[in-house]
């Protein structure tokens, strides 16, 4: 496949890995922001070819993982109402709420459906005028244009039976929260490539300057990631803290102006609670008042919900780059994709799920590398 295969080329990857090994003179800790990038790192073993002391920690960029427990419980309350068709991306169905997940609700008779695109939920609303179709609009800036488009189209087509339960989150405030935390270890960022296709990268300049941290907007294939790591490390070694764009085939400095305009039309910035991290000011989107008739939170008037997190799950520390999945005593034993304790074990972009999928739960903490060789280092 054009624009994929060439960025998975082993010879190119090894050349970049060699250049990284040559460039590094001391230990550095980098964070990849996106869950998709975490998945690539673990799947292709990108971290295994890096020199000793160059560590990748995994960021909060998994929207399924950071959607708050309150919002998931609210989704369950809405999905349980009679006459509702509750639509969601597939990843959300197995995320544990306080009492089970959406899949269990479905088995109990709720009409819960997986859609590929929010626009499919609009089509469903047009085809089922007697039902209330609710879409669970989660995601980072990447997903904001399609979600905004769905709401905008529903309003234009006067589909009053379509609404969205919005739990959007934004990357720059999360990076600020990570860099401001007392335990922060992150010295450089592989920035979120697909978020920046929408938003561009100008909003990262103040972050790089304020915290003196290099930010390299990076793609999602192994060659992209290795080049992003090389660019970040070369900045660190030179004492620089600049914003650079590795993913220039998809990302423009200003992003997609049409998408940004539509987001501005439909959404407004609000405070948002992140699962495992806590409340971050001005870190999310909600619907503007002009779109209130499509706001599921207003339509269904769900009361305040008291929630109960699993006491054992360390996903909050994993999402902030403070711990790795295998630092958790429950990882791969009491917590697996079949019986997840936390959302990072559910989503394919969650760090715990990625570690599990590629065999890292088989390795003990002490002898991880040796054992990985025995099991083939992943798939």
């Amino acid at each position: 496949m054009k624009y994929l295969d060439e960025y998975r080329d082993g010879v190119a990857a090894e050349k970049l890995a060699a250049a990284i090994r040559q460039a590094v003179t001391r230990p550095w800790t980098l964070m990849e922001v996106c869950g998709g990038q975490t998945h690539t790192i673990v799947k292709y073993g990108v971290d295994e070819v890096l020199p000793e002391g160059l560590e990748l920690v995994h960021g909060p960029g998994c929207p399924v993982c950071v959607t708050s427990l309150e919002m998931i419980d609210r989704a369950h309350a809405v999905a349980s109402r009679p006459g509702v068709i509750f639509c969601s991306f597939g990843d959300m169905l197995r995320v544990p709420g306080s009492k089970g997940d959406l899949l269990q609700l479905k088995s109990q008779g709720a009409d819960v459906r997986i859609v590929y695109s929010p626009l499919d939920a609009v089509t469903l609303a047009a085809a089922n005028p007697q039902k209330k179709v609710v879409f669970f609009a989660i995601g980072f800036e990447t997903t904001a244009p399609p979600n905004a488009m769905a709401v905008w189209m529903a309003k234009k087509r006067k589909l009053k039976n379509f609404s969205v339960l919005v739990s959007h989150v934004l990357v720059p405030p999360a990076m600020t929260a990570i860099l401001s935390s007392p335990g922060n270890r992150v010295q450089g960022f592989l920035g979120p490539g697909h978020v920046c296709t929408v938003m561009g990268y100008e909003e990262y300049f103040p972050l790089a300057e304020q915290f003196h941290v290099p930010i390299v907007i990076t793609g999602f294939e192994p060659v992209d990631m290795l080049q992003g790591i090389l660019m970040t490390v070369m900045q660190l070694e030179a004492g620089k803290a600049e914003v650079e764009n590795q993913y220039s085939r998809a990302v423009k400095r200003e992003g997609n102006l049409a998408s940004r305009k539509l987001i501005e039309e439909v959404f407004e910035v609000c405070d948002r609670k992140w699962r495992g991290v806590g409340s971050i000011p001005q870190s999310g989107y909600r619907l503007r008042a002009e779109y209130a008739e499509h706001d599921a939170e207003l339509i269904f008037e769900v009361e305040d919900i008291q929630t109960q997190e699993s006491g054992e799950c360390i996903s909050g520390d994993v999402l902030r780059g403070l711990k790795k999945p295998h630092d958790c005593p429950a990882f791969g034993t009491r917590c697996t994709p079949q019986t997840p304790l936390g959302a990072t074990m559910v989503s394919s972009e969650g760090a715990c799920a990625a570690y599990y999928a590629y065999g890292r739960h088989l390795a003990s903490r002490a002898g991880r590398k040796e054992q990985l060789v025995q099991v083939g280092g992943g798939k």
Binding site: T142, M149, R157, N245, E349
Partner: protein, 103 residues
Amino acid sequence: MCLGIPGKVVKTFQEHDVLMGKVDFSGVVKQVCLEHVPQVKIGQYVLVHVGFALSQIDEAEAQRVFDFLKGMNQLDELEAQESEPVDLPSPNVRAVAARDGPA
């Protein structure tokens, strides 16, 4: 979630006054909203996320990483000839100093 997959536009059409299209992902053809990449032509590639094209792939920019690698190869050859260490070229594709601020 932020998965974006490149695919080739094979058809464009309007639906409810919105630009839509058919996009080919290695043989799997899906309907995609193209409203925010209105300049795209049939045969060109777009980056698609949940049925929505976020950007058009820039063919010239897509070559940059391979141009960089080619530069590294040439340096390797030079090094072999001269047996002296040579500095790597900057891998920087579009370096923009933070202090430069917005364009």
